[in-house]
């Protein structure tokens, strides 16, 4: 059961990254530096879950998820604060009434809550069961989630390399540094 939940959580992270790509490439909304740091958070959280699925459960893997969720949650909270004052505008589109930095903050809260519950659940299981789980096959669903996640992590790296090159991203990006539009 914990493996299935970790797989579903990893699938949720993949869905978030896919949605971000849809808004970036289909709707032309370029991610800002704080948006980038929020995406990094989802990628590192995914690494913790991939480690659970491939190498077996460890509290250290969940520790990685927690650390990056706090860091990326701080980035999204900062962006919320930037636009909290009426009239200070917003960045990007809203989905169901909330902007993506707000949804990201909700997502990191959900990841922290999930990690806490998973640690509680695993902490009460006998060690022999956990070791047994670690030796089980990866499973088709877990494999698909892991490889899709790896593909998205690679695509994010390429997308940000094309957008920002080997330097910092501008606060309000208007185009891709390494993909100039033809005139």
């Amino acid at each position: 059961m914990p493996r299935l939940l970790d797989t579903l959580a990893l699938g949720g992270i993949c869905a978030v990254l896919l949605l971000a790509f849809y808004y970036q490439f289909a709707l032309g909304e370029l991610p800002c530096p704080l948006c980038a740091l929020q995406r990094v958070g989802f990628i590192v959280a995914g690494v913790g879950l991939v480690l659970n699925l491939r190498s077996g459960y460890s509290p250290g893997h969940y520790g990685l998820v927690l650390l990056t969720s706090v860091a990326a949650g701080a980035a999204s909270l900062r962006q919320i604060a930037l636009h909290a004052i009426p009239g200070s505008g917003s960045y990007g589109s809203a989905l169901f009434g909330f902007h993506f930095y707000t949804w990201a903050f909700v997502g990191y809260g959900a990841l922290v809550a999930y990690t806490g519950l998973a640690l509680l659940a695993e902490g009460n299981r006998p060690v022999r069961d956990i070791v047994h789980d670690a030796g089980r096959g990866h499973g088709t669903l877990a494999n698909v989630a892991c490889w899709l996640f790896a593909l998205l992590a690679a695509a994010n790296m390429l997308a940000f390399a094309v957008e920002c090159g080997l330097g910092p991203c501008p606060d309000n990006p208007t185009g891709y540094l390494w993909w100039p539009r033809g005139g």
Binding site: P33, L34, A36, L37, R39, V40, G41, I43, V44, G46, V47, G48, V50, L51, R54, S55, S58, G60, H61, L64, L67, T68, A71, A72, A74, A75, R78, A81, L82, A84, I85, S88, C146, W147, F149, A150, A153, A154, N156, M157, F160, A161, C164, G165, L166, G167, P168, C169
Partner: protein, 52 residues
């Protein structure tokens, strides 16, 4: 400040995790968080116009 650096490290950690190199993936994952926090300090420490 190289914005793509945490993505490079994140991808490396992912590939190490997929390949079963647990210790390597954890170390690179933690390095990614360190870079993530450093970049956050760079981008999010100017004064906000709100009372916190």
């Amino acid at each position: 400040m190289v914005m793509v650096l945490p993505f490079v490290l994140g991808l490396l950690a992912t590939l190490l995790a997929l390949s079963g190199y647990r210790t390597g993936a954890m170390r690179v994952g933690l390095a990614t968080v360190v870079v993530q926090v450093a970049w956050l300090m760079y981008h999010a420490t100017d004064k906000l116009a709100v009372t916190l």
